[in-house]
């Protein structure tokens, strides 16, 4: 086992402002960035604010930007850096800071509420659902999402454009629309809800210009752009260019609006 001392710069402050603070701190074999942040907390800055839960990449709490790149602190091993590199840890840039590394991610919870929920088929009771593995594979991929919001943080549509936040749900929640749309038993259509159309019309799919930055930062390796956004776009386009379908879906949707 070999220990060494690493140089860290950690952003400290709150809504009123703040800056990078320097720390010299011990690092041991096999440690991840979150371990080092915890060591700083336990020995040098007891009030350093940071979110975490599982320490195993399962809960999506410990999101931050490490040397400018959105990552999970608990899954970023110290061995990916050289020993003389200074490691800079800053809060997610797309969301308002609360304190130190903790940001206000309320935007995401608000967007989650705007996506209409799963609609159970009226004719099937509990225990009667039959679905084949190959038909649930696609939605299951999207349900691996741990809601770390790194994709939301990285997407340029909102990263530096606060004004787009009202109209744009972000990759995570566009993917949620795709997930429900691809659910083999979702009965949204029977209630007059056309999920594909809403992706375009209500959740801002049009803002996405398929740069794939979201997919690149996703710690779950979900193919957000290729498997969720592009298919959603293709089908939204199909609908749009078929005037009858488009009209039909508009008319059927009315009764549930409001």
């Amino acid at each position: 086992m070999s220990s060494y001392e690493a140089a860290f710069k950690v952003w400290r402050g709150d809504i009123k402002g703040g800056g990078l603070e320097d720390f010299k701190i011990e690092v041991n074999d096999g440690e991840v960035v979150l371990d080092i942040i915890h060591r700083i907390q336990a020995t040098q800055a007891p009030d350093l604010a940071v979110r975490w839960n599982c320490k195993a990449g399962k809960c999506g709490s410990c999101s931050a930007e490490i040397n400018g790149r959105p990552r999970l602190m608990c899954m970023t091993r110290m061995s990916v850096f050289t020993r003389d590199e200074t490691i800079t840890v800053t809060p997610l840039r797309a969301f308002p800071v609360i304190r130190d590394l903790v940001t206000d991610v309320g935007f995401n919870y608000q967007k989650a509420r705007e996506v209409p929920s799963f609609v159970p088929p009226a004719d099937l009771g509990p225990g009667e659902y039959r679905m084949f593995q190959e038909d649930v594979d696609r939605s299951q991929e999207f349900r691996k999402c741990i809601e770390c919001f790194l994709c939301q943080d990285t997407c340029h549509v909102v990263r530096d454009h606060e004004e787009n936040k009202t109209a744009f749900a972000g990759p995570r929640f566009l993917m949620r629309v795709a997930e429900l749309d691809m659910h083999p038993l979702d009965a949204a259509e029977s209630t007059g809800l056309d999920r594909k159309a809403t992706a375009q019309e209500e959740h801002g799919l049009g803002y996405c210009n398929i740069t794939k930055c979201c997919s690149e930062v996703c710690p779950e390796g979900i193919h957000i752009t290729d498997n969720a956004l592009i298919p959603l776009k293709e089908r939204a386009v199909d609908r749009k260019y078929d005037p009858l379908v488009w009209l039909g879906s508009k008319i059927r949707r009315r009764p549930t609006e409001g």
Binding site: N28, Q41, N53, K58, F132, Q133, R143, L180
Partner: protein, 647 residues
């Protein structure tokens, strides 16, 4: 009078894991205005980490399965100490609770004919665990979270406000349950973000705060597991049941040190993984206890055949209940046959093709690759026991989930005791959360509805006391009680580390009388020091402050574990005494109850040396005859005392 934000609700649920969310859904659907409070963000509770699956006798893979078989397995796993009515309700209702999740949008892995697939797990006679790869907890919590959102959308359509009937207060910590006489009147807590205090007034409170693992050094549990709900109940005057039973999961990661304790799911063994010592031997064959001799394979060949042909072969001993496997690993390491970093080897690489491993165990593959540089498709993992789950908990009525002795208080999930007896089977927790979460929400809503005109008022003094207690860490400078010098404030992180070390070393997987006595002394010392835990900075998102407040809970709960463990002079399930190595039938029907010595709930008044907890014994209700009749007589004689058998 302290200035605090105050709101009125019908039911307050403390905890947003599987149990809390299921309770909240039920209470709201039964018409109660319901508030949920949780320490982390919504959707991040511990339940999200559950991997292997949720146990329910749906019989999708083996039609021989039914609730009676599940009940039997649960009782065997718990060594017959389970609150049998809970085990019965659980086995009976679990399938409905799983199917219901599908109607809320859950997508479990499927069988060939399109049903929910079920996998094998330790102690379960048939493939019984519904699962989604090895991320079942994520599916469960996301489904409940999305169900809550769908109810909020419904409320929005009707009232124009998403939160009019069901609201989640995230990143808030409850520090006290408030009471009017013996009845619950609400909760007191603080917002983590701002440090502001708040009171939610409500006649019914459901505690669903999960476990206590953060009192131990090596654990699979997160920072949330500081035993808050256990302590809240104690302080409110409700007793805790059988706190000596703590589950050490046999397979936690052992290397590198920073991930020591992180869980390696039991599905690795359920799907064919085997345990070997440094000599390459599958040592579990040497550790099959007498009570299980007829149920497990006697040779490797038979064990291997079982995966393909379970009707004509017996299961391999790697799938014994967790307490057995954890003890076996402990013995192998002690005997010098451990792996380089003090564990044993868990191998799937020689048992399945690489692509099958990656498909069936994706997050294990990922976890070892990312955190330990180990490719589990090519080499064995190193694993060892890790503190995982607490079977003990708030003593509740089986049918209603009502906490004993405190009207208006309910408890469900890991924080409730009884259901799992002395040892929990894998997969039985997630189903427990849903079955008893629902029951708690139901009965809390009903109780609250019965009190519409006569709500217990909140006592201002209690609010002031709670606020003063919460603020103490900011002014921790005075001398310790009994000491004449003015020692400087204690660092809460240091106190926490000492507590974890003490519990790990002295009340851990193998227990001895002298060590537990030393643990109690250490706890008394820490208790005095913890009153002086001091913090810097201000109240806004200050983890040092939060930890200082959590210490009260960890110390209370640790004392319960240590006292009960010292009292129970036998080994059973998650309680192993080196000085009393055998299970003793005389203890089969004995519950140990922990209550606060000073029932006024004032902690300062408690003597720092003798402790804060009083222990009492209670004889359990005899198991109902028709349930006993589900077992063979030859099996019952191994567990039940003579008198019990002839009743």
């Amino acid at each position: 009078m302290s200035v605090v934000d105050r709101q009125d609700w019908d039911v307050v649920v403390v905890g947003a894991g599987g149990a809390g969310l299921r309770a909240a859904i039920e209470a709201r659907e039964r018409g109660a205005r319901t508030a949920v409070i949780c320490k982390s963000l919504f959707g991040k509770a511990h339940t999200v980490m559950a991997e292997g699956g949720i146990a329910a006798a749906m019989g999708n893979v083996n039609s021989g399965d039914n609730w009676e078989v599940h009940f039997r397995d649960t009782m065997r796993g718990g060594k017959f100490l389970n609150q049998w009515r809970m085990a019965e309700l659980h086995a009976n209702e679990a399938p409905d609770r799983v199917w219901e999740l599908e109607t809320w949008g859950a997508l479990f892995d499927r069988t060939k004919d399109g049903r929910i697939s079920q996998r094998n797990f330790g102690g379960h006679e048939y493939p019984r665990l519904a699962h989604v790869g090895d991320r079942t907890g994520l599916e469960l919590i996301r489904t409940l979270q999305q169900k809550i959102v769908s109810l909020q959308q419904e409320d929005f359509r009707e009232t124009g406000d998403y939160e009019s009937r069901l609201k989640v207060f995230q990143e808030c910590t409850v520090t006290r349950v408030l009471k009017d006489g013996d009845k619950v009147s609400g909760v007191f807590g603080y917002e983590r973000e701002s440090g502001r205090f708040f009171v939610l007034e409500a006649p019914a409170v459901v505690i669903a705060t999960g476990g206590i693992g953060k009192s131990f050094k090596v654990t699979s549990n997160s920072w949330e597991y500081t035993g808050d709900g256990h302590a809240l109940a104690l302080l409110a005057g409700a007793p805790l049941l059988n706190m000596e039973f703590v589950q050490f999961h046999p397979t936690g990661m052992v290397w590198p040190p920073s991930v020591k304790g992180i869980l390696v799911t039991e599905s690795v063994r359920g799907d064919g993984g085997v345990l070997r010592n440094s000599e390459g031997k599958r040592f579990m064959f040497d550790y099959i206890p007498d009570v299980f001799k007829e149920k497990y394979a006697q040779s490797e060949e038979e064990g291997d055949r079982w995966y393909e042909d379970p009707d004509h072969n017996r299961r391999p001993p790697e799938l014994l209940p967790r307490d057995e496997v954890a003890r076996a690993i402990n013995s192998e390491v002690k005997a010098g046959r451990g792996s380089p970093h003090g564990g044993v080897f868990l191998d799937v690489s020689t048992r399945m093709p690489a692509e099958v491993i990656r498909r069936r165990l994706p997050s294990m593959y990922h976890q070892f690759k990312e955190l330990a540089d180990v490719d589990i498709t090519a080499e064995a993992m190193e694993v060892g026991p890790t503190c995982h789950y607490v079977m003990g908990g708030i003593a509740v009525e089986s049918d209603t989930a009502a906490a004993r002795g405190v009207p208006g208080l309910f408890a469900a999930g890991e924080v409730a005791g009884g259901m799992h007896g002395s040892n929990r089977l894998g997969g039985n927790s997630l189903s427990d959360l849903l079955v008893f979460g629902r029951r708690a929400g139901w009965h809390a809503a009903e109780y609250a509805a019965g009190l519409t005109d006569t709500r217990p008022p909140v006592d201002e003094d209690q609010i002031d006391t709670a606020a003063a207690e919460a603020l103490r860490p900011f002014s921790a400078e005075g001398p310790a009680p009994g000491a004449d010098d003015g020692r400087p404030p204690e660092n809460p992180y240091t106190l926490h580390q000492e507590l974890q070390q003490a519990m790990n070393d002295l009340v851990g997987i193998i227990r001895r009388e002298g060590e537990m006595e030393r643990a109690l002394e250490k706890l008394a010392d820490l208790r005095v020091r913890a009153r002086r835990a001091g913090v810097e900075g201000h109240r806004q998102f200050n983890p040092g402050w939060h930890l200082s407040l959590d210490l009260r809970n960890m110390l209370l709960v640790s004392e319960c574990v240590a006292r009960a463990a010292l009292e129970r002079t036998e080994s059973r399930g998650g309680h192993t005494r080196e000085d009393h190595p055998a299970m003793d039938r005389k203890w089969r029907n004995v519950n140990l109850l922990c209550a606060l010595t000073d029932p006024t709930g004032g902690l300062l008044a408690t003597d720092p040396v003798s402790g804060q907890i009083t222990l009492t014994r209670e004889i359990t209700e005899p198991i109902r005859a028709d349930l006993l009749a589900l077992f063979e007589k030859e099996e019952l004689v191994k567990y039940l005392a003579e008198e019990e058998l002839y009743e």
